[in-house]
Amino acid sequence: MISIQTADFDVGTEYQSLRASGAGTGAVVTFSGLVRDSGDLSGVTGLFLEHYPGMTEQVIQGLIDEASQRWHVRQARVIHRVGRLALSDQIVFVGVCSAHRGDAFEACAFIMDALKTTAPFWKKEISGDDEHWVEQKTSDVERSQTWG
């Protein structure tokens, strides 16, 4: 399930829902991304996140489908917030459950890495009165390419 929302989310609730996916589930891996104090700018006080409604959901569904073909995935959940966020706010959640831990770790990391370079979101860093559209990082592109 995919949610693009301005509202915050609760990782405990999302985890319980993945855990409840049945007695064949042996591993749950979750990733949460938070607004950090130093990005392209230092002293970041907040973010503004924009997305392309419709296309975003399609791209993420494609990533979940691809992960489910490459690994054993019992259930996957992606939440991404948009709009204005403050320091330490939650930005994104990716949760995967599987029979085995290797599949859960890899599918979760793959979805997150691929989301960063293919899902149409754009991030503007805010540092006091300064605003700055974040540039795509070479390290993110390279990391995404390691999945082949």
Partner: protein
């Protein structure tokens, strides 16, 4: 008859710098993404950046596209900077 126009959308830095969120253009025969980019860039001013140094990504009907991708009447064409979510 289908809609004889194209819907063009801009996101993030492009949306801000062009001062334009979306616009309608008449569809023309044999149009491609590359042709449309050249046409928009020829407006000059901040529009010139569509063919400048910084990469511009394009989606046609919400799927990633290339300069050679054809553009037909009724299509939604979106231009945006490389994505930076997550």
């Amino acid at each position: 008859m289908t809609d004889a126009t194209l819907t063009i959308r801009f996101f993030a830095r492009l949306r801000e710098e062009l001062g334009t969120e979306s616009l309608q253009l008449p569809a023309t025969p044999d149009q491609t993404v590359g042709g449309l980019l050249a046409e928009l860039a020829s407006r000059g001013g901040s529009w010139a950046q569509l063919q400048g140094d910084q990469p511009v990504m394009v989606a046609v009907n919400q799927a990633m596209a290339r300069p050679s991708t054809p553009v037909n009447a009724g299509d939604e064409v979106a231009f945006f900077p490389p994505v930076t979510g997550g």
